[in-house]
Symmetry: C2
Subunit: 528 residues, 2 copies
């Protein structure tokens, strides 16, 4: 597969004028060809201007065109075949099976959004017909629909080179909403980004869309990111990454002459709570599953469990000992980059040095570079509550077990933690009363609550929420995974007393797009 | 009716320790008894703490309790009878008929939100049932609902002492969502606020709710506003008022350790566009209706038309001459306060001094104080486009007519204006082609598009949008009027594999609240 090392701006392959970067194989730290040229900000402006120009036509297309376009992207990604998986493996160190699964998730969510577009409920059609005889004042005809916000800037995440990258959830939901996308590639997997970017760009051309519907841009990290978010043509931002970068984008967006929404998914410790009943069964299995969830994908998952609350007492001691054994048996896997591996090491050294923190178990280093041994630590509730250093995400295979003496103490601790993507409860029937006491406090803090499972492995569906209160995300009112994600890129517009010929098709009486509608507050589902 | 001059904090009448203010009759500038004592920020913290405490129970109540509570507020407001209208007239100078209409709107929207609560679609119930046999991985049961954000700070607007005040749209939609409210009274109508605040507080007590569900606080304007928005217990903000104050609240909210959403409805010029066909009929009637819309409620309406685009040429000249005559025949009505009247005067003096602005017509001063003569000005498109001073809202009975030579020039001008609440088109069948060319540009700029009507007089219904791109509002994704407003105060939470007994009632299989649900993407409406 021939890689150019260029950005793709509105269908054109454009070399950048602001230096180059190279992807690296994290298993060897060796650079990978080709070098990728970085865009200067004036080059970036061509992409955002093209997106703004594309918006007028792209936003108005019928659902079938949007849906087929999304499906064509999925088809084109599949057509890349083994080349894509091979390049992604080289650039990320992630195992082939994991990347194949991620590709299936990526194409699956593109097709899921195509079905959401065909079904059409997200357009929020509401019709309040005229009531000319109403007293004291007649009512005129008013119709409401959701319209796309405009061009969206999407930032690729390092840890999901496919599912949270070019054609990942943010791009899929923005395109499904009818918004053009300017995609900023993550510099850790530039070749993977080019392959997928070409798949999207080919789909744009194949569907005969305005070429500004999609651009893939490479640039110097934070600099081009701020320029992109500050660009007046951009109307919303999707981001998955570090809290530092997410906060910088939030500040940039809020300081614009016209502030815009930022959907940043940033950091989460994903606490797990073990209730007493869960320790009456096989504690080795439970401990093993925990360590598997901590170490999967080298712990480089937004939902990796960074905290686990285990009861004090004999059963808890047995469980914690089993965790130590499982952790010691784990081996390191290649992390995404040298930088991420060294940040992880710094994080665990800092955690280990905190008062009251002890090592429960440390595994063995992997054989490649950047494959540090997973590590699990332990502390007591009072030490945890008073020390904010234990409340920071360590991105990678590390976790902290906190021993709690009773349910009121546990509730108090839950109230102290920051906003999270998830919280998980392990329990049996006899724990229901205790769990019911803790659940209201948990619900205030998270976007997803699980029982007797593990937070890693996020189902892409209609009911999923991958979001949560700040600082897990910048905006708790949404999700970045699942079909509800489309609502991030829409706003309502009302049309009062418009003649049929001037109404957009979505709102006309004859309902040419066959959309579900609410007429006078009653469902009028015609597209069964 | 006995007024105390005190705040109502969680059901208790509390005198403030930070000085006093008095309402004034704007028709005479005379102060009205009693003086209202202002809360210090430590007193305010009692209200926000009570709201935070109330959230746990209030948010979890069944729909019937929330709905009956909203209806009880409406009943209590009606029971205040003529006393409320009398006091509001004294404090605002608004005519009795207008205030009676506003009261009906206020109680009507409380009852509308009660019906929204009973119907329950806003809870967004989605159930993706388990698929244990799915390959390659089984699917676990995942359920989603919308939960209330937490305590909401609501700021009363000066221009709607009932419908955008204590028990107005922001409060009604926040309470309907299940969020406690801390309401900051507008200092221009403190007595009206106390009467309505008591009606709400009585309903809280009558329903046996936690008293922290509602507090009414008086305080020194911007200072207590910033303290309220900065308070960690507050999770969202509803505001209607000036752009200066709205921007200050947005900045405060964004700078918090935990940023929160601000729904600020700030400023709008509500452009009206006259197409050629609309001038083939009676131009005097059209001109008269325009001046009526500009001067109603002394122009102190968010949707008052501050700009009108009329074609150049003979028909346009006739229309503009008719506007001049109608404006000259209009007389001033008492404005809400001396401060608002003097800001209006300053605004029109500045507008009149701009290059290329001429007076089309000035009416006569009203007989009371603060009742300045309405004024309508005229300018040409090139002058308007190059001068930002003509793009500023003048709050009160003033408007600017802009003459445009052709449709392309009109489209260009629309692209230059800022975000607006509304845009209105006057047209006949022969104008449809021209209107269709202008509509896409208009849609980018506004929350509501009207044909052959006037933007003032906002219908409270299911399809209404009272919102729009910045700076009309701080957040174009919502509306502050109509049933969709409830979505401002909600966020999604997913529940994965929870046993029935631990699920909230809204998500249980047996559907005890009889809510509409989406199961595996299919509607399951049971509460017809």
């Amino acid at each position: 597969m021939n890689l150019t090392g260029h950005s793709i701006i509105a269908g054109h392959s454009i070399p950048g004028t602001a230096g180059t970067i190279s992807g690296r194989d994290p298993a060897t730290n060796q650079p990978l060809d080709p070098a990728y040229s970085l865009l200067a900000t004036d080059q970036l402006a061509v992409a955002t201007a093209a997106a703004a120009e594309a918006h007028a036509t792209f936003s108005a297309l019928p659902p079938s065109v949007h849906a087929q376009f999304l499906e064509a992207i999925a088809d084109n990604i599949e057509a890349l075949g083994a080349d894509l998986i091979e390049r992604a493996t080289q650039e990320t160190g992630l195992p082939t099976a994991r990347l194949e699964g991620e590709r299936a998730r990526t194409t699956g969510q593109l097709r899921l959004f195509a079905s959401v577009v065909r079904e059409g409920a997200f357009r929020g059609i509401r019709i309040d017909p005229a009531q000319p005889g109403r007293t004291p004042t007649p009512r005129v005809d008013i119709r409401q629909r959701q319209v796309p916000l405009g061009p969206v800037a999407v930032f690729g995440a390092s840890n999901f080179p496919l599912a949270f990258s070019n054609a990942g959830g943010d791009t899929a939901s923005a395109l499904a909403a009818g918004c053009p996308v300017v995609f900023k590639a993550h510099n850790a997997h530039p070749g993977t980004s080019e392959l997928v970017g070409r798949a999207v760009s080919d789909a744009v051309r194949g569907a005969g869309l305005h070429p500004g519907v999609f651009s893939l841009v490479y640039g110097p990290g934070s600099e081009i990111g701020v320029a992109l978010v500050a660009d007046p043509a951009i109307k919303a931002v999707g981001f998955t990454g570090s809290q530092t970068a997410g906060l910088a984008l939030m500040r940039t967006a809020a300081a614009r002459p016209e502030p815009i929404p930022v959907y940043a998914e940033m950091s989460s410790l994903n606490p797990v709570i073990i209730f007493a009943g869960a320790l009456t069964d096989d504690v080795d299995a439970l401990a093993g599953d925990y360590v598997t969830s901590v170490t999967g994908s080298s712990g480089q998952l937004c939902t990796s469990p960074g905290l686990l609350f285990a009861p004090t007492g004999e059963a808890g001691d047995r469980f914690v000992a089993a965790v130590g054994r499982a952790a010691s048996a784990a081996s390191g896997q290649t992390m995404l980059s040298e930088g991420i591996a060294s940040a992880w090491k710094k994080g665990v050294v800092e955690l280990a040095s905190q008062d009251g923190v002890t090592v429960l178990g440390t595994g063995t280093d992997g054989s490649s570079k950047n494959a540090p041994a997973p590590a699990i630590y332990s502390t007591e509730l009072p030490d945890f509550e008073k020390n904010s250093a234990m409340h920071r995400e360590i991105f990678g295979a590390a976790s902290l077990v906190i021993r709690y003496p009773d349910v009121p103490s546990l509730i108090h601790a839950v109230q102290q933690i920051e906003g999270q993507l998830t919280a998980t409860l392990h329990l049996r029937d006899q724990d229901h009363e205790a769990a019911a006491q803790v659940l209201p406090a948990i619900e205030q803090k998270v976007g997803r609550i699980l029982v007797n499972g593990w937070p890693t492995g996020v189902e892409v569906g209609r009911a999923m929420v991958h979001g949560g209160p700040f600082p897990a995300t910048s905006d708790s009112r949404t999700t970045s995974v699942g079909t509800l994600a489309i609502t991030r890129f829409l706003r309502p517009v009302a049309y009062q007393n418009l003649p049929q010929g001037l109404l957009p098709p979505a709102l006309r009486d004859e309902n040419p797009w066959n959309l579900p509608r609410e007429i006078d507050g009653e469902s009028d589902i015609q597209n069964s």
